[in-house]
Amino acid sequence: MTQFPATAAEPGQNRTGEDRTLVLNMGPQHPSTHGVLRLVLEIDGETIVRLKPEIGFLHTGIEKTCEAKFYQQVVPLTDRIDYLCPLTNNLAYCLAVEKLLGLEIPPKAQWMRVLMNELTRINSHLVWLGTHAMDLGAMTVFLYCFREREDVLRFFEMVSGQRMMTSYFRIGGLALEPPLGFFEKVKKFADRFPGNVDEYEGLLTGNPIFMMRTKGIARLSAEDAIALGAGGPTLRGSGVDIDLRRDAPYTGYENFKFKVPVRTEGDVFARYLCRVEELRESIGMVQQALAGMPEGPIKADAPKVVLPDREKMKTQMEALIYHFKIVTEGFAVPAGEVYQAIESPRGEMGYYIVSDGTAKPYRVHMRGPSFANLQALAKMCEGGLIADVVAAIGSIDIVLGDVDR
């Protein structure tokens, strides 16, 4: 029989000197991990001693697939990486290829890109807000958010025919002209939406239960956030003032006025406030884009790269030849490499493309913001409680398609 030692137990050990921590699996099938994320938690009672994310369950080898496709065939693949903001991925990829080609994009296409990109941000933040609040027990917000998200998805359907996998941005411009009545409908939505944000805030921002679940939880200092590579609202919630739309403007963002919300608390509540504020800024940019939408073509004047209009293809021989050549053998891209980073709803979305001068990319690498943000999760959770892991996962807003690619 074991004799109990006379001294008191060390922390982390029981009185017989054994390890008293327990390893608990959270996921991959867990509703609060927002996908197939597996967390291996080492717990001491209710306290997290160590947290280890296990990923790769959704790995589809998109980067490898890209190497076997023509440049224009990669666009639909990019939709499927981060399925909550497909247009952001389309944009990052198209901008990277356009940079490789040295293509100039007409103003209307640029403004449409900003408009659709900000609608995508709203769409993504609404899904985040609804699911995050539901994780913390506020069911109603979810229904409100998905009501407005439905409107945004209808806009996507209007321009591209698809609700989620839009592929609306193409190399050299847009796929189609926006249909008649589109701008009026968006305008109506944009006028109404700030009131909807007030509704969400009325349910959450001053709510004592929500504040108890989020304030001071899963703190991340600015130094740690930078060292761990966090991005977007996770970084700005920790007091680092960076937004690529303002600091490295692309696709005409320099023409728009907006504020970059930054909070210094570095907790779940700070990230929540940053994102809700971004909803308001985004709808402001949608208003600006609607007010200043220029007229003109929606595709670059580059017949070897951009598919001709249907009408031209059926009536002009050159257009038919170009169409045939682009579809059957793609278009050659001058050798070189680019890294194009844009501000996705989750942080820096970067595309690194290496071209060897042929019609297929030599290497495509996606720098997923969720992949980077996930590394910060362990730092946030260790020393906290199990129940707060759910709040922390919600607050970094990961999409597992983006993590695993």
Binding site: I55, G56, H59, G61, E63, K64, T65, E67, A68, K99, L100, G102, L103, E104, I226, A227, L228, G229, V240, I242, D247, A248, P334, G336, E337, V338, Y339, A341, E348, G350, Y352, V354, Y362, R363, H365, R367, F371, A372, L374, Q375, D404, R405
Partner: protein, 165 residues
């Protein structure tokens, strides 16, 4: 917007803060530099990569304090086969630079930069998993995307797109 020809003359590129800092620290670590499509690439001696990253991170004039991305390109069948690519960002100055280190294909290995940026942890595991490049000094170098018992490294150019049958 026609493309400008790339600039490869180090003397011309000297004013860029990253290159200036490296030349000031140790001229021999810089193999080559290229400015193409508004992006600066610096080829670094493989042995010095960790020190170079630490020097750039702690640079007083323009600290490149954020590791955006770390990945790899396979140039099979030419040698040195792999290029490990680092994208750095200076958050205070909004400057970017790309570092590259060439790694040969026979037993690919390079020093880990996890001690400089903890964020390199996942990226290096990903490169190890998909390219088979080893990172010496990495705290936990194991597969991250593929199952632990997977054979081969899928993003290598000699790995078939449809996998081995």
């Amino acid at each position: 917007m026609p493309l400008d020809p790339p600039i490869t003359d180090i003397e011309v590129l000297k004013p860029h803060p990253a290159l200036a800092r490296l030349l000031e620290w140790n001229v021999s670590v810089v193999q080559a530099a290229k400015f193409d499509r508004d992006e600066l690439t610096i080829w670094i001696e493989k042995e010095a990569i960790r020190e170079v990253c630490a020097i750039l991170r702690d640079s007083a004039d323009c600290p490149f304090n954020y590791l955006c991305d770390l990945t790899c390109v396979d140039w099979y069948p030419s040698e040195p086969r792999f290029e490990v690519v680092y994208h750095l960002l200076s958050i205070p100055h909004k400057e970017r630079v790309r570092l590259k280190a060439r790694v040969d294909g026979s037993s690919p290995a390079i020093e880990s930069v996890t001690s400089v940026w903890p964020s390199a942890n996942f990226y290096e595991r990903e490169v190890f998993d998909l390219f088979g490049v080893r990172f010496t000094g990495h705290p936990n170098l194991e597969r991250i995307m593929m199952p632990d018992d997977w054979e081969g490294h899928p993003l290598r150019k000699d790995y078939p797109v449809e996998g081995y049958r």
